[in-house]
Symmetry: C2
Subunit: 200 residues, 2 copies
C-alpha cells in the first residue's frame, strides 16, 4: 500500500506530518487539479523531492491526506471491463465489495467526518470527482457537457447507499446480499451514466 | 406548528424536557410502533394525560423528539395525488421544496447528527420508515413483501441527494434547479416504488 511508503522509509515524523498538513490545506483550498506538489512543499517548508520521496505521486499523496487505503485507479479497469452497458451493475458491485471489506471502516469514518467538517467535505468532494467519477466517465465517450451532472448523480446514489447500509443501517439495505442491491441499484447507476437525464 | 404547543401552554420547562428525554430514549430503544405514550409517561414520571397535553398525538411527540417542524402527513396527499405513475417526480419535488426552504436547515442538522450519533440514527430511521416511507408505500397497492426494500431504496436515493446538495455540496447538484433534479432522479424513485427491483 502506497500510504506505507513512510513506514518503509521512516524519516522524521514531523516532516511527514508537516507535508500531510500542508497537503490537506492545499487540496481543500485549491482543489486537486490546481494544487501542485511544489505549492504543498513550499507550504510545508520542504523540498518538493522530499514530498515525492515520502508519498510518491500527487494521487498517492492525496489518498494519504484523506486516509483512503485503496487506489480507485486499480479498481476502475474492472468496472469498465464489460463496456458501457455493464457499468452500472459493476460500479455498484465493486463499491459494495470495497465497503463491505475491512477497508470500508475507513470509508465510513471519512463519510462521517465529511458530514461534520467543511474541510473534509471539500477533500471528499475532490476525491470523488477527480479520482473516481471523472475517471469512469471520461472513458465512456459521453457528451462532456453532461458528465458533471452524471457524475454527481452517481455520487449521490452511492453516498445514499453507503449512508443507509453502513451508517443509518436501514433494513433491509443494511443486511441485504450484495447481488440484491446490485440488481436494484445497478440500473439506476446505469441510467445516470448512459441514459437520458430528463423524464423518460 | 404542533411543536409550539409547549409555547402556547408553557407549563414547567422541566416537565416538558423530562417527557422529551423519556420519549427520545423510548422511541430509540423500542421503535415508534412499540413505544406507547403510557411507557413514555412512566419513564418521565408523569401522567399520560400530561404527555398529550404538552405534545398532542404520538406522531407529534415523535416529531418534537427529532425536532422536525413539518408534518409529513400533510405533504403526502400532494405526493400521492397524481396516482402511482407520478409518485417518483412528485416525491423528489416535494423533498426539494422542503429541504430548500428554511425548514431544511433543521433537516440537515438532523442528518449530520444521525451520522455521528447512534441514537439519533435510530430515531431518524424510525422517522423515515414509520412517518414517511410506509405512509407512501402503503397507499400504492404493492406486494407487501417488497415494500420494505422499496422504501429503503427510496430512502437511500433521497439521503444521497440531501448529502450531495446540502452537506457535501457537490456541483452541479448543489446549485441545480429543482426541476433538473426532478427530471433526473424522479424516474429512479419511480422505479424503486413501482418498477421491477431486479435487473431490467
Amino acid at each position: 500500500m502506497s500510504t506505507r511508503r513512510g513506514g518503509r522509509r521512516p524519516g522524521k515524523p514531523d516532516t511527514r506530518e508537516a507535508i500531510l498538513t500542508a497537503a490537506r490545506t492545499t487540496f481543500a483550498e485549491r482543489g486537486f487539479d490546481a494544487a501542485s506538489i511544489r505549492a504543498i512543499a513550499t507550504a510545508a517548508g520542504v523540498d518538493p523531492a522530499l514530498v515525492h520521496h515520502y508519498f510518491g505521486t500527487k494521487e498517492e499523496l492525496f489518498r494519504a491526506t484523506v486516509a483512503i487505503p485503496i487506489d480507485p485507479a486499480e479498481l476502475l479497469p474492472g468496472v469498465l471491463a464489460g463496456g458501457p452497458d455493464e457499468v452500472g451493475a459493476r460500479l455498484v458491485r465493486t463499491f459494495l465489495t470495497v465497503w463491505d471489506s475491512p477497508v470500508g471502516t475507513a470509508a465510513v469514518a471519512l463519510l462521517r467526518s465529511a458530514v461534520n467538517n467543511e474541510w473534509t467535505a471539500r477533500l471528499l468532494r475532490e476525491f470523488l470527482v477527480t479520482q473516481v467519477l471523472r475517471r469512469v466517465l471520461d472513458r465512456l465517450d459521453l457528451d462532456p457537457a453532461e458528465t458533471p451532472l452524471r457524475g454527481a448523480l452517481v455520487g449521490a446514489q452511492m453516498a445514499g447507499l453507503a449512508m443507509m447500509r453502513y451508517v443509518i443501517r436501514l433494513e433491509p439495505i443494511a443486511s441485504a446480499a450484495p447481488e440484491t442491491l446490485v440488481a436494484a441499484i445497478g440500473p439506476t447507476v446505469q441510467r445516470y451514466v448512459t441514459g437520458p437525464l430528463d423524464a423518460a
